[in-house]
Amino acid sequence: MTSLEGGATAQQRERATTIFEKGAAGRRAFVAPELDVPQVEGLIPEGSRRAKAPLLPEVSEPEIVRHYVNLSKRNFDLDSGFYPLGSCTMKHNPRLHERVAALPGHARLHPLQDPRRAQGALELMFNLQEALAEIAGLPHVSLQPSAGSHGELAGVLLTRAYHADRGEQRTKVLTPDSAHGTNPATVTMGGYEVVKVALDTAGGVDLDDLRAKTDDQVACLMLTNPSTLGIFDPNVEQMASIVHEAGATLYYDGANLNAIMGYSRPGDMGFDIVHFNLHKTFTQPHGGGGPGAGPIAVSERIEPFLPRPQLVRRESSNGAAAPRYGLDHERPKSIGKLRGFQGNYGVFVRTYAYIRSLGAEGLKDVSEVAVLNANYLLARLREEVGEHLPLAFGERCMHEFVLTGAPLKKELGIRTLDLAKRLLDHGMHPPTVYFPLVVDEALLIEPTETETRETLDAFVDAIAAIVAEAAEDPEIARNAPYTTPVRRLDEAGAAKRPRVREAIEPEAG
């Protein structure tokens, strides 16, 4: 049996046709508003007027709707099934957030509106900053960065500005072997050399190696805690003092904040700069790869360098009136802007709604259940398939854990990739695979707090079924999936002969 119930429908398996292949000459969805002013010729200088209009589709509104609805059905999504993609925190996206973000007072507010007429937005942002500062245990926040990687870049540039202000020019940034790929890539863009720090046998940072590599040329140590191995590094305080004694900053990659809210705070661990992933911890829908937002929280000594503009609250001179919120552009030591305007406000609205819905107790519950679910799933998997898919490090985990598929490969002849592809036939999204790089045949599993015990059990059953099936016939998994709109795709071919756009006939249709 290679197929499972619930396979792709006939529509899903049709040859893919793009919107550019649909329609016919003269079809349209847009009806232009009337030209209500006198028409004047020659308003665009010779040579600057477009000679040949761009070949956009010619389609009716019903065609557009059907095309994209059908395309949507060729996607797997979190609302349809389990999505334990490690390090991505695929938790439920409350629809209240979409409703409030769409209110015209938020959605149709112009970013350059006079601050006196955007007090609701500025107050929301200010309150969100206060909440994030409290969660991080650091006093100052900038909401501006657009994503985690953008927050990281902000952190590296802040570090550079901090040292420059002290008359220092440092050259290196340390990252552990288990770091997200964005960390080293960011370091390069920030103009520093990456120096890797080894892990100890428990999966934490090797303190001896850290000591050996920390000198007066080190600007920063970038760390995720819990790490990408799902382990809380208990030596973080010692790391902080090693790094701080050398005059460097300590940067916290907040990708894994979902594990510790209400239990521990990066600021209390000694971090100087923290980024949040509002699309991970705080339920901004992932949108197929974005948008997100990556606000940063920083310590007192980093504050002068924060991006502009910075939000300020001005108490009214007469006690009766409400405080006024404004944007401070006059920040002489600021690293400057990282992007246009004030950041991804639509994401802030959703995050704020989430924090107001849950409160302190609810956020702590989030982390508790995230860790409970992960440990339960780990225990059940060890019980069912522990021999073939053992835990890479330690005994327990925080909100996620890493299994190694090395024994599975050796004993049953299927790779982690095959296991992942066979999971697709079970109607589940696979975990993150082949990351972190320090684990052979890695599977990084993060169930999140919003899944039920029944879902976790069903995942264990699916993994156990695939392992049992592989013991009988490994070819099944090696050629999976079978029930999806397409089967395994030729990725090497795609990279070798890149076709990155549709070819369009000038007079198509």
Partner: protein
Amino acid sequence: MSQYTAVTPEDLQVMLGAIGVGSIEELFSSIPQALRLQRDIDLPPGQPEQAVFAELRELASRNVSSEDEITFLGAGMYDHYVPAIVDMLITRSEFLTPYTPYQPEISQGGLQVMFEFQTAISELTGLPVSNASLYEGPSAVGAAAYLAKLSNKRTRHLVSRGVHPDSRETLQTLAAGYGTTSTEIGLDEGLTDLEALREALSDEIGAVIIQQPNFLGAIEDVEAIAAAAHEHGALVICAADPLTLGVLEAPGNQGADVVVGEGQTLGNRLDFGGPSFGFFAATEAHLRRMPGRIAGETTDADGRRGFVLTLQTREQHIRREKATSNICTSQALNALAGVIYLSWLGRRGIVEIGELMLQRTHYARETLAALDGVHKLHDRPVVREFALRLDAPVDRVLDRCAAAGINAGFALRRAYEEHPDGLLVAITEQRSRADIDRLADVLGEAVAAERTATEATV
């Protein structure tokens, strides 16, 4: 249990039993006592959904949005109509809730959207390759300058003062990291000063960065600028408003090597500045240096057409410190809104909407410049936006207009100190002739009133 978690007391017992611990706290035992928060986080208690809705609605009510006034405010983001099908399609779970398409077999919808988006951007910009989007406009300009540095290793860039002030500042912020410097080329009567540019060019210049139309609404001669830059082997980076590219020549057809920009005008709402998307298109030679995600066409094991994320050896998760960028986000949902919008506009609509903006901009400019105390800041041809000079303090004039329900535009002094009483006025297809006439009445009265007030105090 909160509203989004589901552990019953019975679940808890079963789960703790399976794990082999007595309590949830035990699971946190790897956190040293000294690092445990010894109190609750200091946040207000959680609220039921209806209370949170009410609070967020109340905050919204204290903003004056484009729904509440007739607005001519632009300067980088514009109040265009977003068709209903955009809202309907981008809120579908299948687009809203998945992540980056790491498993292409179950992500063909999203990957094909990226491929279609890349096609549309390529058509608009006149360049053969596009990525699947970046964060937003100004940081896309910064990403383009980094590509230029990777490409020709030169570290000096020239940037026109007609480029959006946020883009110029973002460029500076990011350049502090990757080690380029930029020199500003001033404006001559609203356009990038071609003479000054030619003088500043040398074989050490890695890139020339311009904007079309520029911040003052003027139509740049991209061809002349590109020719001058290419004589010295510098790349030409052009930030463009995609919604004007039905009537303005595609910068890629005029010699630009990289065309980037802010995509908000394509079916994305204002959202007080974001999220929207940035786009990034380039000549073929730069394909393997581009930042961000790229979707490519391929076939599956049965020979069926399909799409994958491609050229990933550029990217951070493979190349780590040797990656061409640290960006792993595409603004996929916003880019989806963009490609739906472009399909909705269609081949004729992109020209019609550009023509409408062109004509109404001309009408508005002539009508306003005819008012007493109101002058054109420059005479250059414009589309979608134009700059005025007032014989009255611009902030006070704006306040008077706001009191009459009109947002008259952007006070240029916020970004151009050389224009203390400059006003930048933006036109979209939502601003009718009647709206423009109303602006003329209100602005005329406001300027007159302020001039009287100023004379009275003298």
